[in-house]
Symmetry: C2
Subunit: 205 residues, 2 copies
């Protein structure tokens, strides 16, 4: 297995737990399999995420076998197919659309699933792994292939998890150049006291 | 300030970072103000959350002054008004509905805001604080009072942040009894290999 130096140029503007800047979304994955304890720990971290009325609306479908990974990878869209299939663990994260006890639409399900995803991503780093979420996949085919009824469930993201590899060994040249942690806008552009200003500074996309 | 014992009965089923089971959503808050560095660290942690195309669609509005806290608390629904107004920091978390560079609807915004919320909640614990998200508030009045245009922004949650107080000192009796970390369903009820089973076990709400 290639040893990749753990260089991360992200600098927090104020002192925070380094876990937050240590987490990023690489594309260069080593295809060495994860062990059962690692996989279980990822889902266990997600399990303890908060959710509206403790509804826990998240559902994780995972692929570890060569056959399942190929099926999952085949649902990803163009760009993601150039790197994600290498990852030894592929996930789809969905939500249950309605609240179990009363059948009403759960308008917090996506938000709560985002919290579960963040927990999984941070636990991945604790295990020496990285997790990379993807919005780009064939929605229509994914519901069919994954056995999800779009009337009851909503797909939120695909996720690749694994150890990092040397980008030069596993990525096409254009992706090697982009293989680094990205930055963020300043806090002042998204945090406001008391109310939204009438003319906030435009936020870079 | 009352000293509250840091007892947490949550037990992870497999070994994970204890930060995840250490985080929960109390109602007994001490009204002692937070300092600037604490408030800045909460938003800094949220800042580094991942988002689709690094869009960073989250917006945080915060209340620290007595006047702003009263305005924010007045937007909360019934049950939350019995405990949340004590918290020295109240937040509303919203998203931008569209993608800055192309004006299209950002269907990942809520999910991404959930990741930012989780980061903030975990950073709160690092600071010796707790964060409690609430879905219950007056949607219609909140947009007006917070200066948010519902055509461009979507409110996701209200959040109370502060140090814990002794529940007996600050909560009505019925809430004192409920002041403990809640549990979770088993991982097996929301994690499936390869595809969704045709008849998954019903999940408790």
């Amino acid at each position: 297995m290639t040893v990749v130096p753990a260089i991360n140029p992200r600098q927090a503007a104020v002192d925070i737990d380094p876990a937050f800047t240590d987490r990023w979304s690489p594309r260069a994955f080593d295809d060495a399999p994860l062990d059962d304890a690692q996989v279980a720990a990822l889902f266990e971290a997600a399990r303890w995420a908060p959710s509206s009325s403790n509804e826990q609306p998240w559902v994780f479908l995972f692929a570890r076998s060569a056959e399942d990974r190929a099926r999952f990878a085949d649902l990803l869209s163009g760009g993601n197919r150039n790197w994600a299939p290498k990852a030894p663990l592929l996930l789809f994260l969905a939500t249950r659309r309605t609240i179990a006890r009363n059948g009403r639409v759960n308008r917090h399900a996506g938000f709560d699933a985002g919290a579960a995803w963040m927990s999984l991503a941070l636990q991945a780093r604790r295990l020496g792994l990285h997790a990379h979420a993807m919005g780009g996949f064939d929605q229509e085919r994914a519901y069919v292939e994954l056995g999800l009824d779009p009337a009851t469930h909503e797909l939120m993201a695909a996720i690749a998890v694994g150890r990092r590899a040397d980008p030069v060994d596993v990525l096409p040249e254009d992706l090697v150049e982009r293989e680094r942690p990205n930055g963020r806008v300043e806090t002042a552009s998204f945090v406001f006291e008391g109310r939204m200003p009438a003319d906030p500074e435009p936020v870079a996309g």
